[in-house]
Symmetry: C3
Subunit: 141 residues, 3 copies
């Protein structure tokens, strides 16, 4: 992981093999980034992504072992019990002639080539609180 | 709708059942947000999205009733006749094993679970003006 | 190409026929934008997009002649040999009933209707340097 402070934000490069969600979370913990937004692009592998099934109140995840381009990745950082939690959604395009896209909520993705992130801390302390009717910890605004 | 002013922007949470385009437009009207950019993620249903057919000079829209993850949603706000107009494009991933993505121009989408938005007002007053050769109101820059 | 300086960034409208990567690169060269991030939406044609094949250390590109909506486009600007280089990933949705998305790394796309860009220069001077093990010029942070 390489980071450049660019005033009002950080340019970050994650390296092959780094788990994106875990690495970003640890970075935010160590640097007290408690509320932020970010986007990223690059290529990942061993992706676990999925969707939230509101009727069952649980996520469905699928694992995609092969390398895919990160056509789009967006997320935010907010606190649960005072610790920064990263929430991200992604669009992954196939590394074959189809270039077909799949996407959804990110459990984890691992950098396959490189990942370029722009992380923008926000001057606020936003938490997530459980909403029992939804079954998720929603932004407490 | 919940909003937190985070300096240089607003973190917004829309709630289940809220129409995204209408709710954002009303918010911008009431708060005099005339020019802005935003992105959003979450899950929506009853989506009306489509594409612009330049030959026919009209949009084609398709309705997708079922819940889909908002893998990516981007937009901007600019004025038509002095009122804020929201323009957005979206990528929706299927809430099934395929996780397949569809996307395009947004007519309306309704929050199915939650929607997390970062709206960034810009210190400018940008309008849209009709371009007869294109058939759309383009940014007047 | 039309540009409005909106403080901390530029709203840009590219016009039908303009090559996006080339036009943005030239703009950055002329205006000394050496490090930046951006996103864009609109519709393009004659798209050359693809993916990086790490085993072969080369990009595979596919040409898509027909018009597609830019459901999402993200990128950054950094320097190679002191000149600004634009790096972008895109999600393109089909201009037909399927609205199906393809995506990946952008070689070039040409504006088919309009393209609305928000470009945000960063107060930094970031270069790209060749990483021989990856075969690409990565952000030097």
């Amino acid at each position: 992981m390489k980071v450049r402070d660019v005033e009002n934000g950080y340019l970050i490069r994650l390296e092959k093999g780094e788990p994106v969600m875990r690495t970003l979370t640890t970075y935010c913990e160590k640097n007290s980034v408690m509320t932020a937004v970010f986007h990223a692009m690059g290529a990942v592998e061993n992706s676990e992504i999925g969707y939230y099934d509101l009727a069952k109140k649980q996520y469905f995840f699928r694992t995609i072992p092969e390398t895919r381009e990160v056509a789009s990745m967006h997320g935010n950082v907010a606190m649960i019990d005072g610790n920064p939690i990263v929430h991200a959604h992604v669009v992954l395009s196939a590394s074959d002639e189809s270039l077909a896209c799949i996407g959804g909520h990110v459990k984890e993705v691992t950098v396959a080539v490189t990942l370029e992130i722009f992380l923008r801390p926000l001057p606020a302390a936003v938490s997530r609180l459980m909403d029992e009717s939804i079954g998720l910890k929603l932004l407490d605004l």
